[in-house]
Structures are given as C-alpha cells and as structure tokens.
C-alpha cells in the first residue's frame, strides 16, 4: 500500500540533501552497510529541523529503505534524539561527576523551581528547555552549564535568575556579574 508522507517541503529538501551526503550508491547496494550511517543522518536531520517528529522518521524510512519501526527504535533509544520540539533556548546543566560533587544538583533544582519544569521539559512559553548532560570536559570550571552554545562555569544556585536574563526572563533586583566563559557564538 503506498503511504503518502505529509511533510513540509523544506524539510524534505533538507533530508534529501543529508541522505545524499551520507550515502554513496555503493553503500545502497550492500545491505550490510545500508543502515550504518543512520545515526549520522538522524543527527544531522535533527540539527537541521530541531527534532525528529514521526513524519520525518517516516520520510527517512522511505528514503533509506529501512522499516519505520527500526528508525523509531533507534530514535527513541539514543538520548541525543528528541521526538518533541524543544524550546527556543536549551539549558544543559552538566551532571558529570565533577560537577555533581561541586553542587550541580542544587543548580539543577533551582532551574526546575524557577522555570517550573522538570528535566527534559519545555516551559509553556517555549522559551526554555531544561536538560541534564554528562561531562562537557570543562571540569576545571565545575559546576558548568551551557545555554545554547554559551558555556557558563563556577556557578552557585543564586546565579540562576541572572543567567536567564539575557534570554528573555525578567531581571531580578540586583544584577550580579556572571562568569561568561566563551564569547564565540
């Protein structure tokens, strides 16, 4: 039964490009290697589109000639992939061991309280998604977190309200200087 996939044209273009860049005709022929770059393709697709909803998975299944069930299985297995849209800004608090022993847990709890969401959730206004991640490799600055691509380090729970300000949350009464650690975008 032909299955018509309802997908935004700009998404399908993006996916076509990603699939073409990751597979060579030779790989298409060898069944053993067909799915080998699937994770790479999913990762790039998510980077382009933001998340991996069902129609995107179905489109990929069709394109790569892999059962949708298998793509779904892979998507839901790896924590890198999200099937839900994420907020405008992604807050990723490092919960690696070094950060944890230096109080990352309290910082995380403070974000949960301030934003009124739990790990993995997005605020109602879709401004923030809160997540925990593993060692960012910046243990020297523990505890560390990233908001989008910006890295912040040497934090305490009372820095939390000020951290949210540049991203559109109301300022608290007194703005304290926060350690911003990289200036690249």
């Amino acid at each position: 039964m032909p299955y018509i996939i309802d997908i935004e044209p700009e998404w399908s273009f993006a996916i076509d490009r990603i699939v073409a860049a990751n597979t060579t005709p030779k790989e298409y022929q060898k069944p053993s290697q067909q799915s080998s770059s699937l994770i790479q393709i999913l990762e790039q697709t998510q980077r382009e589109i933001g998340y991996l909803p069902e129609n995107v998975q179905a489109y990929l299944a069709d394109k790569l000639n892999i059962p949708l069930s298998e793509i779904y299985g892979v998507t839901t297995f790896y924590s890198l992939f999200s099937t839900e849209p994420v907020g405008k800004h992604l807050i990723s608090v490092c919960m690696g061991t070094a950060c944890y022993v230096k109080g990352a847990g309290e910082i995380f709890a403070e974000f949960e309280r301030r934003l009124n969401i739990k790990a993995g959730q997005t605020t109602e206004d879709r401004l923030f998604t809160l997540d925990a991640c593993r060692c960012l490799g910046a243990c020297g600055l523990a505890p560390v977190l990233t908001i989008d691509d910006q890295v912040y380090g040497r934090l305490t729970p009372s820095d939390v309200p000020d951290l949210l300000v540049p991203y559109g949350r109301e300022a608290s009464k007194k703005n304290k200087k926060i350690h911003i650690l990289n200036t690249e975008s």
């Binding site: 297995f77 061991t97 709890a109 910046a138 305490t156 990289n182």
Partner: protein
C-alpha cells in the same frame, strides 16, 4: 604533498625540523595557544585571534595546540624562547597575552608574576607523558607537525620491516593492557582477531568515553588525532583489516572536527588509502557517531550502534574478535590503548615494559577533578600512589577541607578512603580494594560530600542508562535507586542495607553486560568503607556531611541576624520573613532548602542542621 615512500616521509620530517632550527637561529618566539574544549570555553580562541592579529610578526610563531592538561588555569598559553624551556601562563586574557608577548620580545624575559611554572621543569613532575606527549605541543591540524615528532614512522616501520605477527608479538611482550576499562591484554586481543578465520575484518576505536567525569580520550582526539590514525592503520595491518571505524560521541564537536580534518589530511597525503608507503597495504578509516547512550561504550552494543541499530549489548562469547561488525572478526580498542601503540613500536616493547608495575605496564592518563586544586589531565606511570597524585600533582584539597575519598572507575568503580591513600594505582590493586581502573576518571571528594548521595548519583546514572534488555539490570538498579532515594531523604528503614546488598549480588551475577555487572559497585564500595554514613542516615536521620537536602533544615541564628533582609529577598519561595533590623525567621513548611539564603548572608547568621 604526497607521501608515497619512506624517503618522502623523511623529507617532510627534515623540512619541519629544519624550519624549527631556523626559527631557533633567528630567535623566533614560539607561542602555543592551548585550544582544547576547556580552553575554548574559557576564551582561548579569542586570545589566539588577538595574538595572530596583533602579535604576529617576523619574530613570532603563533600556533594553536591541544590541551596541556592544566584545566584549572585555563586559558593557557606557553611561550618558548629558543634555547630555554617553555614559560607557561595561566588565566590569560587577550590584554595579558599581548603584554606577555611584548615582554618576551623586548626584554627576553617572562612576566614572572603570571607564570604558572616558576620552575619550568616542575610542571610535569611525577608525570610521564607517552600518550599525551604531543598534546599541547603540536598543532593538531597540521600533519607535518606530527611527522616532525616521528609521527607515522611507526607505521612505516611496521609496513616495511615487520610481519603482522612480529607486530603482535611486540605488543604482547610490551605488556600493554586495554585502557578502556577491562584491562585485557592488547597483544592477545590482536592475536585473536588475526587468527580468526575470514578475509573481511575490521578494526574499531572506542571513542565513546562514557564515564561522566572523564575526558582523556577527548583530549587525545583534540590534541593529537594523527596518533590514533597511525595506530589504527598499524592495527589493521597486524590483524588483517582494511577498514577501520572510529566510534565517537556526538557531544564532542571539536574532537570530531579535528579528527575529520586529520583523516582528510592522511588520505590526501596517502598515509591512509591504497598502497600505503608503497607497501601494498590498503587501509580506510571512517567515523561513526555515538548519540548519547552510555551502554554504547560496551563493545557489543557499540557494534550494534555502528551498524545503525539500537545500541543494545549481547551475550559474549562470541567475542568481537571472532564475530563483530556484520558478523566479521573485529578488533575493538580504546583511544588511549591505541595511542600507546606508535610509541611502543618506535621505542620497543622492553622500553615500554620497563615502566609501571609487574602486571600493569606503561602509564595511565587520569582526569583529575572534583575537590582538588589542580584539576586537569595527568599521565603517570602505573604504580604511582594515590597520595602522590592527590597531594603532589593535584596540590591537595582546596579551602582547607579534609580529603574523604577518591572515586575511580566511574559508574562501575568505587571509592577509596583516606587510610588507603598510599595504594599504588594499577589494575589489580584497584580491583583488590573494590574499585577499578575504568577509563581514568579520578574524582576527589572532601568532607562536604555525602557518600550515600554519591552512591545514589552513580546508581541514578546507571539506572538511567540501562538499556532495558535484561531484567536484573533494568529492574534491579531501579529498586536499588528507590532504596537509596529513601535513605537520602530520611525515610531509611532498618533492613535497607541488607536489601541493597542482596540486590547488588543478584544484579552483578545475572546481568548480560558490564553495565549491569558493575552497576552495584559504587554502592558496595561505599557500604564497605562508609557504612557508618548509611547508618547515620537510616537510624539517626542525619546526613553527617550536611549534603542531603531533604534531611536538613535551615534556621536563622537570632544573635547574629542583623535584619538586613538579604535572605528574604533572595528566597525563591518567600519562606523568610521578619521586620527590618530585627532577626528574621524561616518558615520550615515553605522552605525548599535551596541554600540561597545561606549563600547570601554576610553575617553567617544562617545555619544548617
């Protein structure tokens, strides 16, 4: 530039060495800006840009390098004047960097007050850098710099002078053991893969680095990627494989980018591809991305993940050496394991086996972090004592606190208490005290860390990362975590410890893969050495370290409170109230125990009981 023969390789080395000699003769200053992930997060890229824009002259040679391992001082630069050892500067800013350059150029002298190595030979005291030898020294994006330091000469030696079995024998007699956790003898693994029947074989590098507090593999990938490429080509030749895969986690964007560049350079020069150095040997290398699943570091799960499937482990045997990727014989080693190989080939097995202890040869890289002054990456000979690492290299515990424990082996390991500080670290000694080498995370904890909470932290990790395939791991770790949650929130009951121990035994013996088999270790080892802390939580409903938030209450010391209202203003839940200039008080029902009031109070008027 094509490198088709050994003399081409020699030619490149000669050119680079001559260029360096010329810089020496002309008194040209070499500046290494250390741009690993940690450096970049601290602003090293900006420093590099400013230096190149404003400091690049005919008298300077400014290069970007990887991490030299001194994370606590980031961002770092090293300045080398011909004829003298490098001056290393920490906490550099763009302005400082230009001032440093100026001082070296005009006065031929370092800026003493900003130096972090007053005594230049001291920085790597007690260390022996083999796998990290080039990290922070060479520009990882230029293959010539690797070649200048004898890079790819081990590959040349292997391809042109040695038979595959010679290579394997050399590795076997070196005594090298796997650095990814298990410590399996590397030469033996290569031999199994070599003798396994079949014409199509694969070599794989495990760069998943799942231990949530370890970053040594990343540092090698970022600082010296060609070392890995060379080693994998050597492995391919030894076991009879023409295709290699590097499985690297997607969370390491910089490492990935450097690795891609390095592979591209090696392909372009002909050090990867067909007929390498005219030997007739062909080797291709591809990258596969990990996508955030700890269990994918386990070798059978990793294989499934490379195949593009869910990363679930399977029962062994068959081991990957017999049946791995797509059912073919596959060699899997860790990044650091491979990183030792070129040096072993060049310097010989007997040189390597002269370092370390009887059963653990060579060195080990540790990611030293937590409550320690000198956070960073260190490489020490096997058999170095924990005390040397913590006190001499690590500089001890900051803020005058007392050492409580060191945790090695990540979520599979255990804690080493104070009275065992003199343990000589190698595979067997760590196992004997209930921990393990693991991949090399070494987290130091002080008196403020609660050991029950740490055990809970690791169990939460393994529980979360359990792939769910086998019941003991999926359900067992969940039950253990529930008990630990209960204990740390003050609801512990008398038989909880016994329950934990019995669950631990079952999970260890009945899980399919190493994740489950080792998941109870953090609990068992803390129960062994810090049982009294568990008991204090359960019977006295107290957390001796004052770390378990649910067992604490904040209160205001009326004698000390000046009524400044700072605490009330910062409280997220308006639990604090009072009149100005009179002592405030905390409503325990509203308090969410965030600790912000205590942090804000300038008069030490808030206490934690």
């Amino acid at each position: 530039m094509k490198i088709k023969t050994l003399s081409d390789l020699n030619q490149i080395k000669k050119q680079s060495v001559e260029a360096a000699a010329k810089r020496d003769i002309n008194h040209i200053l070499t500046v290494n800006v250390h741009q690993g992930t940690c450096g970049a997060a601290n602003g090293a890229n900006e420093i590099y840009d400013v230096m190149v824009r404003q400091g690049e002259t005919a008298h300077t040679h400014i290069i970007q390098t990887g991490c030299p391992g001194m994370c606590h001082n980031e961002p770092l630069i090293s300045v080398t004047q011909p004829g003298s050892p490098p001056s290393v500067y920490g906490h550099v800013t763009p302005e400082k960097a230009l001032a440093i350059l100026d001082s070296h150029l005009k006065h031929h002298a370092p800026v003493a007050e900003w130096l972090i190595n007053r005594n230049p030979t001291d920085i790597y005291m007690h260390q022996h850098r083999i796998t990290l030898a080039n990290c922070g020294v060479i520009d990882p994006e230029r293959i010539e710099e690797y070649i200048a330091l004898d890079g790819y000469f081990a590959l040349a030696k292997v391809l042109l002078e040695m038979q595959p079995l010679d290579v394997i024998n050399e590795l076997k007699s070196s005594g090298l053991r796997g650095r990814g956790g298990g410590g399996f003898p590397t030469g033996q693994k290569w031999e199994f893969t070599h003798t396994a029947p079949g014409t199509q074989k694969y070599v794989v590098c495990n760069a998943d680095e799942g231990d949530p507090g370890a970053f040594m593999d990343r540092s090698i990938l970022e600082g010296d990627p060609h070392r890995l490429i060379e080693a994998m080509a050597i492995a391919g030749y030894a076991v009879g494989a023409n295709q290699g895969y590097i499985y690297i986690r997607a969370e390491y964007p910089l490492a990935l980018e450097r690795l891609k560049k390095a592979i591209h350079q090696a392909q372009k020069t002909g050090l990867l591809g067909d007929n390498i150095l005219g030997s007739g040997f062909t080797f291709h290398l591809d990258i596969r991305l990990g996508a955030g699943a700890f269990v994918c570091g386990e070798e059978t799960a990793l294989i499934h993940s490379i195949e593009g499937k869910r990363g679930e482990p399977r029962q062994r045997p068959p081991f990957p050496a017999a049946s791995g990727l797509w059912g073919k014989p596959t060699l899997i080693n860790n990044v650091e394991t491979y990183a030792n190989v070129p040096t072993i080939i060049r310097q010989g097995a007997s040189w390597f086996s002269s370092i370390g202890t009887e059963k653990s040869k060579g060195t080990k890289v540790f990611a030293l972090a937590g409550k320690i002054k000198n956070i960073g990456l260190i490489e020490v000979p096997m058999g170095t004592t924990l005390r040397t690492i913590i006190e001499d290299i690590g500089g001890g515990i900051p803020d005058g606190k007392r050492y409580k424990a060191a945790q090695t082996g990540g979520p599979s390991g255990g804690c080493i208490p104070t009275d065992m500080l003199d343990i000589a670290i190698d595979y067997d000694n760590l196992l004997a005290v209930g921990s393990m080498m693991g991949s090399g995370g070494l987290i130091v904890m002080d008196e403020d860390n609660c050991m029950v909470d740490i055990a809970r932290f690791f169990l939460e990790f393994t529980q979360d990362e359990s792939c769910g395939k086998c019941t003991p791991c999926r359900i067992g770790t969940k039950r253990m975590l529930e008990i630990l949650d209960k204990i740390t929130s003050g609801q512990g009951e008398a038989d909880d410890i016994q329950q934990l121990e019995s669950l631990a035994t079952t999970i260890k013996s009945a899980s399919i893969c190493g994740l489950g088999q080792t998941a109870p270790n953090p609990v068992l080892s803390t129960l062994k050495y810090f049982r009294s802390e568990y008991e204090a939580h359960i019977y006295a409903k107290q957390c001796p370290a004052h770390a378990c938030q649910n067992m604490l209450s904040y209160s205001i010391i009326t004698d000390k409170c000046t009524g400044c209202s700072a605490c009330a203003r910062v409280c997220p839940n308006t639990a604090i109230s009072g009149k100005a200039k009179e002592p405030y008080s905390i409503d325990q029902n509203l308090c969410v125990k965030c600790g912000m009031c205590m942090e804000k109070c300038k008069f030490d008027a808030i206490e934690l009981l």
